[in-house]
């Protein structure tokens, strides 16, 4: 599973990356987590408000940091 966290590196983006990692580990998934920090790459994925979460190429959420449980729902 490929997980991408989109954001230029503000505190919310870091929090989302941490929670996503926790969520994926909690589910025992095999995953790679990539932080997408360059603006062209973020924009190309259709995200207007960071942070964004993309799982296997599909945008799951943007503009806020969901709770770990909510992130696990995105990963299932």
């Amino acid at each position: 599973m490929k997980i991408e966290v989109l954001g230029s590196g503000c505190s919310k983006c870091k929090l989302l990356a941490e929670r996503t990692e926790e969520a994926a580990k909690g589910l025992g998934l095999a995953f790679t987590l990539v932080k997408v920090t360059e603006y062209p790459d973020i924009v190309a994925r259709g995200v207007m408000t960071t942070p964004g979460l993309v799982v296997d190429g599909i945008l799951k959420c943007q503009g806020h940091v969901p709770a770990v449980k909510a992130i696990q729902d995105f990963l299932r």
Binding site: R45, G46, T49, P66
Partner: protein, 357 residues
């Protein structure tokens, strides 16, 4: 079990609220009375702390300064938490994508006005300024309207509004909002008329882009409340230190500096103070909540309203870090026009209010 006589809900399994109720934000409802009690009890608590516990003399400079800080600090933080919670909740219903679609293809002055107004309510974080800017421009929101939004969103935000309202009353809050929207409207309109589309960095229009629909926001009451609580943690966690610092400075000045002290520097007769306040304010960056305690001090010590408003707008609306971020999407020429048009608008507002009030 005696559950009628014993009012404690923790010892009796009450069927009505249930664990789902607590999880979906019921604890917030339960916390409300505690919040109100704390808020109402702050003044006696602060006096007790300053004059009884610390043994300071009521009426003495130090005593009054400490009592002021012990009262005002928690008060502003409590208010801020409450306001941010409410606003974050409302904002879970407003997405930037919807704002963008409302503004797309809307040319002319109405587009600018609508953009400036939507900027008040749409959730916006300056770290998203670049993707948002590109998202707007690429779906056909006119450049001028995009700028109107970009000016109004950080400057006239809901947090500033509610804090102004609760600390200074509705008149100043209304004045700040109306003039903020006017500055955003005008500067966006001027930039639109200057036809500066060619002064964007080329990659903005060239990179592959896909307009997302309004997805990805929280849905359902528990998720919305969770996002709101997160908003409180995020904003209060970020600005509390500035607020307390501002109030500490305020408490000190409150007791030690005469009330007319700022008249000479920021009074109405010192016309040069308006452009100076803007010049000082632009490189400074503070969240709207962080600047308000300073504004409170300035006004209390005789600074003119127009000068103070101009300072506040310059600090929140224009900033060095944001300019560095925006430089990635616009050439220096456009950035310079943007900064000078907005700064000029703010100076104008300052003069206008010093003249009228």
């Amino acid at each position: 079990m005696g559950m009628e006589t014993n009012g404690c809900a923790c010892s009796v399994p009450t069927p009505a609220p249930g664990p789902g109720f607590w999880k979906s934000g019921g604890w917030l409802l339960a916390a409300l009375p505690a919040w109100v009690a704390l808020y109402l009890g702050l003044k006696p608590l602060a006096d007790w702390l300053a004059f009884r516990v610390l043994g300071l003399q009521p009426g003495s400079r130090l005593g009054e300064a400490v009592a002021f800080f012990a009262y005002d600090g928690p008060k502003v933080l409590l208010l801020l938490g409450f306001v941010v919670l409410g606003v974050s909740f409302v904002q879970t219903f407003i997405s930037p994508e919807r704002t963008r679609d409302l503004l797309a293809k809307r040319t002319g002055a109405w587009g600018n006005l609508l953009a400036a107004l939507l900027g008040i309510a749409t959730p916006f974080c300056s770290c998203s300024a670049v993707p948002l800017f590109i998202g707007f421009v690429r779906v056909g929101v006119p450049l001028g309207a995009t700028f109107s939004f970009l000016v109004s969103a950080p400057m006239v935000n809901e947090v500033a509004l509610f804090l102004l309202l609760s600390l200074f009353g509705w008149r100043i809050a209304l004045i700040y909002t109306a003039t903020g929207v006017a500055v955003a409207f005008l500067s966006g309109w001027i930039i639109g008329r200057l036809r500066m589309e060619g002064h964007l960095e080329p990659w903005v229009m060239d990179i592959p882009f896909e307009a997302s629909v309004a997805t990805g926001g929280p849905s359902g009451l528990p998720a919305r409340l969770a996002v709101s609580v997160e908003g409180v943690r995020d904003i209060v966690g970020k600005v509390w230190i500035y607020i307390l610092l501002g109030i500490a400075v305020g408490a000190f000045l409150h007791g030690y500096v005469p009330a007319e002290f700022m008249v000479r520097f920021m009074g109405r007769s010192a016309w040069w103070s308006v452009p100076l306040a803007v010049l000082i304010g632009v490189p400074l960056y503070a969240n709207a909540a962080g600047i308000i305690p300073i504004v409170q001090v300035l006004l209390a010590k005789g600074a003119a309203l127009g000068t103070t408003l101009a300072f506040m707008m310059a600090v929140t609306g224009l900033s060095l870090p944001e300019s560095v971020i925006l430089r990635k999407v616009m050439r220096p020429s456009l950035l310079a026009v943007f900064l000078s048009v907005v700064a000029a608008g703010i100076v104008l507002v300052g003069f206008l209010f010093n003249l009228l009030m």
